[in-house]
Symmetry: C2
Subunit: 268 residues, 2 copies
């Protein structure tokens, strides 16, 4: 591709013109699905999207035709494989995964538990990939799902290296460790984040559903920006965070190098 | 969810009403991206979707707002992580992957090459997942990408167990083995498919870019339908298909059981 990129015209804040609300309604239909509701009847789709059933059916028809939705023999809708095919082109999901997967495989072979790869999306982490061995401890999060920044290993890394505005917005909220419901003070979290920036490593302990330790490290891109976080999650009883740290940092460096990073900044 | 599924009303073949073509245009914008073009300028987006630049910019604005598209600092568009988040809910992609990944990991550890999981989408195969070891042979296909049914191991399995109408449509086309450009007769392919149905296993040899062997087996769902195919792809020089077959079939059965299948039909 040799053509010059366009200048960036203003696209936000325009008055919507005729026809555009239809696009928003179509997107609302897609957003009605979630991990707990991968199949929806027409009435559930209508209720969850706030779109009257007759409009929902008409719009769903266009989405079915294209393959953004699929329909079961019993009439329930689900997200279509064609949408996943197009969506898999997202550079922050798929491109990152492809670089990361062999390194994640190495870590999983060594630890025999969970290996996680996450990116920041606003004030949450989004789990891009999880490799889990047979018999690994119970996992709280699924790929494609959201995770809190302040109470996961990968989330703490992403928060520690996020721009100041994001950190301040997160620190301004009442922070509760999930799922134990323990409050965290902003001062404690600030100290934790400073430690993560200093060490290039986060160690996070979670008590429930089973006691686990997550050890997480940052992944850098060619510009030195932290674009993702990698972690291993192991049962607390077997965990030797001092031994896991170098393994996670080594794999995270391998991924960073695959993304074009030279030497990750801030680590020796 | 306790509510009864709705009856299936007719949604195809309706006359489009006002506003719906906008949804089609928005979907055309998404379809303008492919693996060779994960980033598009506004002018490329307009040209590849056939939508005038002014409309394309207005529609892209709605998609950006929602997160279906993202924009680089230089103004180029890409598919957004939010779209991937929703699309990852597709039962045929994500649900299947989650069941399959630990078994794929086992196979990859044993073979140290590529392990592929594919589903049929019309008259092509769609690669849902690929695990690849460091140093594995050159791969032709990427996750989220299409593969020909008649010249890949997983494709042959999916074709062998597809409904008759699909087989006849594929067999009626001029069939060329990719990437060597060798023609295949329909009679030969019919015999190959019969053998795959008999053995529950496909062995496919490819000469280029490097000589490889793919050994593939079907994955069944709770209804006994073949919903996916699993394969290992190894360099032809090291391959012992007779030893790989049982490993692939064992892993495919593990995935089938995870999907609710009792005993895969047609295998002893």
């Amino acid at each position: 591709v040799t053509e010059a990129p366009d200048a960036v015209p203003q696209v936000r804040g325009r008055r919507p013109t005729r026809g555009e609300p239809v696009v928003d309604r179509a997107l609302s239909l897609l957003a009605a699905f979630d991990a707990a509701h991968p199949y929806l009847t027409l009435s559930a789709l209508s209720r969850r999207s706030g779109i009257p059933a007759s409009s929902a059916l008409r719009l769903a028809g266009r989405l079915l035709e294209w393959g953004a939705l699929e329909r079961e023999p019993d009439g329930r809708f689900s997200i279509g494989l064609r949408l996943w095919e197009v969506a898999s082109l997202t550079p922050r999901g798929h491109g990152l995964r492809q670089v990361a997967l062999p390194f994640m495989g190495d870590l999983e072979e060594v630890t025999r538990q969970h290996v996680l790869l996450a990116v920041r999306e606003g004030e949450q982490a989004l789990l891009v990939e999880r490799l889990s061995s047979h018999g690994a401890v119970a996992a709280l999060y699924r790929p494609g799902g959201r995770m809190p920044l302040h109470s996961t290993g990968v989330g703490l890394v992403l928060l520690a290296f996020a721009e100041a505005g994001v950190q301040e917005r997160v620190l301004a909220q009442p922070l509760i460790h999930q799922p134990e419901q323990v409050p965290v003070s902003a001062a404690t979290l600030r100290r934790t984040l400073a430690g993560i920036r200093r060490d290039g490593l986060a160690t996070f302990h979670r008590g429930a559903p089973g006691p686990i330790v997550s050890v997480a490290a940052p992944v850098h891109d060619a510009q030195g920006t932290v674009v993702a976080a990698l972690s291993v999650v192991v049962p607390a009883e077997d965990a030797e965070p001092r031994l896991l740290g170098p393994a996670v940092r080594t794999a995270a460096r391998g991924i960073s190098r695959g993304l074009g990073a030279r030497r990750p900044p801030g680590t020796s």
